[in-house]
Amino acid sequence: MSDPKTFFLDEEEIPFEEGQTIIQAALSAGKFIPHLCYHPEFKPHGSCKLCTVRIDSRTVTTEDGQSVKIPGRAAASCTTPAQEGQHVESEVPEILDLRRTLVQMLLVEGNHYCPSCEKSGKCMLQGLAYDLGVMDPHFPQYFSKREVDASHPDILLDFNRCILCELCVRASAEVDKKNVFALSGRGNTKHLICNSESGKLGDTNMAATDKAADVCPVGVILHKRHGFEVPYGQRRFDIAPISDNPVQYAPVKEQV
């Protein structure tokens, strides 16, 4: 048997199997790369760009003897296959800045009032904001006007918090075989819709036991009549910050 292939993540050697993406290999090796739209059970989507890394930066020596770093290409690690001998930079200042900016843009684009959000303490966007040291939203708040869809007997949708990651779309289509969700519109007007004539979730065949009901990384898809049942200090990211536990990082069904 030949030696496993490896690449370098922030100078650390990471083994990988043929066909694995950079993020898959990193997470299985216990190395955290921030991500929002990636989920180990679904095909990568490559939309949130939180997982951006820089690949194969080079240092060249100029004629006058100075070393100059030529940055490698930036790529979404969730869609980029790992390659033998590759040098991947993740925890470097420029990339961390980029991720902070992305998180800030997401925070102002929706209406994220963390203190009164049931997902607080287990929300991946909030968890990443803390982990990346995002201290303020930086950009002016968008104050987008979005409604709540409470038509389903067991599930509430609060569109104010949607980051358009399409995990629910993928879960409903691929696992639940229902196609309950889709994205509609473009650019600024892009938004999540429910596939029913009325556009209401209550008129779809969604069930509370569906995979799609427990996949949302933020606080859009919520089980009704449950809120704040886990006290401060015992919530998921109170116990360990998001980056401490890369393997269990993907959304799991909450114990309620």
Partner: protein, 499 residues
């Protein structure tokens, strides 16, 4: 006879000078006092304006009900627990008809009494003791908590540690010192561990002792200067509060009782579920804040006060021994009639703080607070009303929730709104007695603020804005032109002269 509308509206406002005290310092939120004076500095009109945005109710409408107890804490930076619990009580009605397990009720009580302790300590030591210890027109540079710490380090230390203890009770029961999540519709999300209980219990006796000391301080002030303390900002009025089924003081739950200014019971054991017929929220063209009154008595006679002075004189007894002793002495001091001087609020407030400290200890010794049965279930309802005695007085939360679990109607009457007319009357009383005919000085204006502060108006509750603001006084002539101005920054530095 004194009339509540006296000095509310001047006969010929056009011919008068206007003084605007804006905003009132050491009061959270945005309040403004306008005084119209004639050329001889005679007071003709005094109004306390509190800028209230009704937007918060609209913000709650459309939200899922389980968010509301957490959401409403944003109303107020200094007593969020009161809103958290009043909303929880209303939502209990909706999710199970209003029942709680013994553990849940006691954890909530513990949280609430912790809140009462920290809020009363903050009010008395940080906001009011500078006026009380140094005098209302003492050196403005020293008239603050730093000045108190320099002159009376023990008093300042007591204040800081009492407040901290109250905050720790809140943290242990709700998860955080400010804006926790402990109370949820139908129960609580945590009880206490033995370590948490012991951590609080070790300081409980000291808190009781310090609270008793605080009562002694304010009692002494009354006895040493009754001519000031007993009559300043006199507002003889009806008093409204919750009492339990035996007429005992209870901050967390009970029925409504009202006594008139002479102490005669007007109504008793009235369920707060009928608050919206019992009370009418009056409006006046010059203020955004409502002026509630007891419907059957009408707008002119039905206004009332809430808060410590109302509660301590409304109840028949206080359930803890030391506070009850102090209540009896307080009532005896007043003689046959209730006390209505606004400074009496501080005395009553400290008796309540003592009651809170004693109750916290009793609750900590109750094994139920470590129970594991946290949630109760029962039949669902559409409407819920939750009422609580917040540190500043009776607080009403009222919601309707549709079958989709979304709030369709919200109405809140906060303590400060309940006291709106009474505060206006107190301010007018002080303006008439202290400002009439005098050149306006910072010290005289501070008398107005002292009267407002007695009521401990949590203006941020009413205005949904946070932060202490400096004082600005503008003297305007009859044409509306500013002729003089006095400003005081949050450090107490005073500057005079037109801008």
């Amino acid at each position: 006879m004194r009339h509540q509308f006296e000095l509310e509206t001047a006969k010929t406002p056009e011919a008068l000078k206007r003084i605007v005290i804006e905003p009132v310092s050491r009061v959270e939120g945005h309040g403004k006092v306008t005084i119209l004076l004639d050329d001889d500095n005679q007071v003709h009109q005094v109004r306390l304006h509190i800028v209230e945005f009704r937007g918060f109710e609209k913000f709650i409408e459309g939200r899922p009900y389980w968010e509301v107890p957490v959401l409403v804490q944003r109303l107020c930076g200094i007593c969020p627990v009161s809103h958290h619990l009043a909303a929880s009580k209303a939502m209990d009605m909706i999710v199970n008809g209003g029942i709680l397990t013994p553990t849940a009720e006691k954890i909530r009580r513990l949280m609430h009494y912790g809140q009462m302790l920290q809020s009363h300590a903050l009010h008395f030591f940080h906001l009011s003791s500078p006026d009380l210890l140094f005098g209302f027109d003492s050196d403005v540079g020293k008239r603050n908590i730093v000045g108190v710490a320099a002159a009376n380090p023990d008093v300042a230390k007591m204040g800081v540690l009492l407040r901290k203890f109250g905050q720790e009770v809140i943290r242990v029961t709700s998860g955080k010192r400010v804006h926790g999540t402990g109370s949820i519709p139908g129960g609580v999300n945590k009880s206490l561990t033995a370590e948490e209980r012991d951590y609080l219990l070790k300081d409980a006796d000291q808190m009781i002792a310090w609270s008793r000391d605080a009562v002694r301080i304010i009692k002494q002030l009354h006895k040493s200067n009754p001519a000031l303390y007993d009559v300043f900002g006199d507002v003889p009025t009806t008093m409204v509060s919750l009492v339990d089924e035996k007429g005992t003081l209870d901050f967390y739950h009970g029925s409504l009782r009202a006594r008139d200014k002479d102490g005669e019971v007007i109504f008793d054991q009235v369920s707060y579920q009928g608050y919206n017929t019992l009370l009418t929220e009056g409006v006046k063209p010059w203020s955004y804040m409502k002026f509630p009154y007891i419907t059957t008595l009408g707008e002119e006679k039905g206004w009332y006060k809430v808060g410590p002075l109302a509660r301590v004189q409304n109840c028949d007894r206080i359930p803890t021994p030391q506070a009850e002793e102090e209540r009896a002495e307080f009532v005896a001091y007043g003689g046959t009639k209730p006390m209505h001087g606004s400074l009496g609020f501080h005395w009553a407030r400290m008796i309540e703080m003592l009651c809170a400290a004693e109750t916290i200890k009793d609750l900590l010794l109750d094994p139920d607070i470590m129970g594991t049965d946290l949630m109760a279930t029962g039949p669902r309802r559409e409407e819920g009303i939750g009422v609580i005695e917040a540190p500043r007085g009776t607080l009403f939360h009222h919601y309707r929730v549709n079958e989709d679990d979304v709030v369709t109607y919200a109405n809140l009457i906060v303590s400060t709104t309940n006291n709106n007319t009474a505060m206006n009357v107190a301010v007018r009383d002080v303006a008439k007695n202290y400002l009439n005919g005098h050149e306006i000085t910072e010290g005289l204006l501070n008398h107005i603020e002292v009267a407002i502060r007695c009521f401990d108006p949590c203006l941020s509750c009413a205005t949904h804005a946070l932060g202490k603001m400096p004082l600005e006084v503008t003297l305007v002539n009859a044409q509306g032109q500013e002729i003089d101005r006095m400003t005081k920054d949050s450090e107490g530095r005073v500057a005079k002269g037109a801008a």
